[in-house]
């Protein structure tokens, strides 16, 4: 009778790195390689939180002199006078919000239309190509949008859009003044094109996540296809769709180059969309390198801090809403 050659397992020691096959080591999770692996990954993962902390700290420290000097007045004062060393960010905050909201007014119907068409109505073979083409809009660099805005969009607005618009609605406060080109309107249109792919991509994901039973139930009760979409599918995904819109808002608020190139960069608060305006991001881009005094620089940092806080809040809100519908997707990093 032969005895089975059972060899004793190597006694697991805490620093035994060679227990690749060591079952006990694996079971007890004491493999040195594992511990190192986890330590390295954790260290890498900690980079992001540390980065965010440093970013916030740097901004806050650099903005401190301006905060101390102007206090909350900074938010609603509209004087921006580098010579007199008096700074107030109201025109930029207004311009940022106005251009972004106007952009959303244009982009939301467009993007929702794309998302609804792609998920509900388009023939199967056309869905992927159109989705890809719309996502490509997100791949166009901001500065290229700006270039296109300066040399194509603005001349087009000047010759073909603004004259008839003024003829029709010129009496409203929104279309006052002479249109020179660089304006809130131009900035908003460019922004709208830029955020469409983001809103469309997320809306599409949200609509895809709506259970087919919603649709079928509505159709089964005799709804037309559009009624099924509008009364059963869209309301089901409402939270996610609002999230998508807010995500687009977040993008629009922080967009810099394209806006800087077409919005006119003037510290003014006005209702007319034909007049130049300013945004927070544009102000930083334009004035940062010419900020000669430390208080001027600090004021620009405060503008950056405000912009950062606003976008954090807006993005946080968008994510919460989207997660409620399409759980856990890395929203925004999907679009190109």
């Amino acid at each position: 009778m032969t005895t089975l050659p059972i060899e004793p397992l190597p006694t697991p020691t805490r620093d035994n790195a060679s227990t690749e096959g060591g079952i006990r080591g694996v079971l007890r999770g004491v493999n040195t390689g594992d511990r190192w692996y986890r330590a390295v990954l954790t260290a890498l993962a900690l980079v992001l939180p540390l980065l965010l902390l440093t970013l916030l700290a740097e901004l806050a420290v650099s903005a401190a002199p301006a905060i101390a000097r102007f206090g909350p007045r900074f938010l609603w004062s509209s004087t921006w006078d580098p010579v007199a060393q008096v700074f107030g960010a109201a025109p930029m905050i207004f311009g940022t919000l106005a251009s972004s909201l106007l952009a959303l007014a244009i982009a939301v119907p467009l993007a929702l239309g794309v998302a609804i068409f792609l998920t509900e109505f388009a023939p199967k073979w056309i869905r992927q190509p159109i989705a890809f083409l719309v996502e490509l809009l997100a791949a166009i660099p901001s500065v290229v949008y700006g270039l296109w805005g300066i040399f194509v969009l603005i001349p087009f607005l000047r010759s073909a859009v603004v004259p008839p618009l003024k003829a029709m609605l010129g009496w409203t406060p929104f279309l006052q003044g002479v249109f020179y080109g660089n304006s809130l309107l131009a900035g908003a249109i460019i922004l709208a094109i830029m955020v469409v792919p983001y809103i469309a991509a997320v809306s599409r994901e949200v609509l895809l996540a709506v259970p087919a039973s919603q649709r079928e139930a509505a159709l089964g009760m005799g709804a037309t296809r559009w009624e099924a979409v509008w009364t059963a599918v869209v309301p089901y995904g409402r939270a996610g769709l609002i999230g998508a819109v807010i995500l687009g808002l977040g993008r629009a608020l922080g967009e810099t180059m394209a806006v800087t190139m077409v919005i006119g960069n003037r510290h003014d608060i006005g209702l007319s969309v034909l007049q130049p305006a300013y945004t927070m991001a544009a102000a930083i881009a334009n004035e940062f390198s010419e900020a000669t005094t430390s208080l001027y620089l600090s004021a620009l940092f405060e503008v950056g801090l405000i912009l950062f806080v606003i976008t954090v809040v807006v993005n946080g809100l968008a994510r919460l809403l989207i997660w409620r519908v399409a759980r856990g997707t890395a929203v925004g990093s999907r679009a190109l």
Binding site: L110, F151, S333
Partner: protein, 282 residues
């Protein structure tokens, strides 16, 4: 058919037409922009455009050789810094990310993903340019790395999570330690997806301008010195497009076409990598 029914049918048809038209409009915007780029830029693309450096304002000719090389260096360096951290973070989130730290990292990644790039630009300025006392390509790369890390982290996590659990369990059951399972089995399987994420991220930062304004600054001369100011295509387009000369505008269109081609090339190869992965999965 009653009038009411007819009206409902008509509405449905009209709205279908409307959303189709809106989709068409969105695609039209893309076609218009790309079309203008080609129409205005293509005629300026010649040998000297790619091989010469910019000439002083007012003179004719000149090229963007310095900007092309600069873009390559700055983006390459940013990828070198950002990709390991991003992929590592993504692996952490997929492997160990169920706890509180995982939640925090995921949240921070999403917050940073939405941070305006200009804010990252002034951050890099205070962090690197100010202490060093001069503008540098390196500071620009760090700014771009800050932008790319959260993107890569989240896509990597998603891709790794797509790997079937059975693969991991099989490897562990065979006695593979967890780290080797993670790297050799799981990450290896998700590789195409991770590469796609990286390419998309690189495509995105290659077109960035705002974070480079106060870091890489721009440079009219050819340089490979990463501790000094350096030109990129995006910065060059900005300067030329907002400048007063027709010659500059011509060059801006050409540079924009080159930049767009570069970005599209990266995006399309990303799509290709993804397609291969999906093809294999089906």
């Amino acid at each position: 058919m009653s009038a009411r029914q007819l009206r409902r049918r008509l509405t449905s048809g009209l709205m279908t037409g409307l959303v189709a038209a809106l989709s068409f409009a969105a695609v039209l915007a893309l076609v218009l922009i790309l079309g203008h780029l080609v129409a205005q830029g293509a005629s300026s693309l010649d040998w000297s455009f790619f091989t010469k450096n910019p000439v002083p304002a007012g003179e004719m000719g000149g090229g963007v050789a310095n900007a092309i090389v600069g873009t390559g260096i700055i983006v390459g360096l940013a990828a070198l810094i950002g990709l390991p951290i991003g992929v590592g973070t993504g692996l952490y989130l997929a492997e160990y990310g169920s706890g509180r730290l995982g939640w925090l990292v995921r949240f921070v990644a999403d917050v940073l993903n939405g941070t305006p790039s200009i804010v990252v630009g002034i951050f890099a300025w205070t962090w690197l340019v100010k202490p060093m006392g001069h503008f540098s390509a390196l500071a620009g790369s760090v700014a771009l790395a800050v932008l790319i890390i959260p993107m890569i982290a989240r896509t990597t996590e998603e891709m790794v999570r797509l790997v079937p659990h059975s693969l991991r369990e099989a490897a562990l059951a065979l006695g593979y330690p967890r780290w080797r399972t993670s790297l050799r089995i799981v990450a290896r399987t998700a590789l195409a997806g991770i590469v796609t994420g990286c390419l998309v991220g690189i495509a995105r930062i290659a077109g960035e301008t705002a974070p480079l304004l106060f870091t890489a600054l721009g440079n009219l001369n050819f340089t490979t010195h990463v501790l000094g100011p350096m030109q990129t295509l995006s910065l060059q387009i900005y300067v030329y497009a907002t400048g007063p000369f027709d010659e500059w505008h011509r060059l801006a269109w050409a540079a924009a076409l080159v930049l767009m081609a570069l970005v599209l090339l990266l995006a399309l190869s990303a799509r290709r990598a993804m397609r291969q992965r999906h093809g294999a999965a089906r």
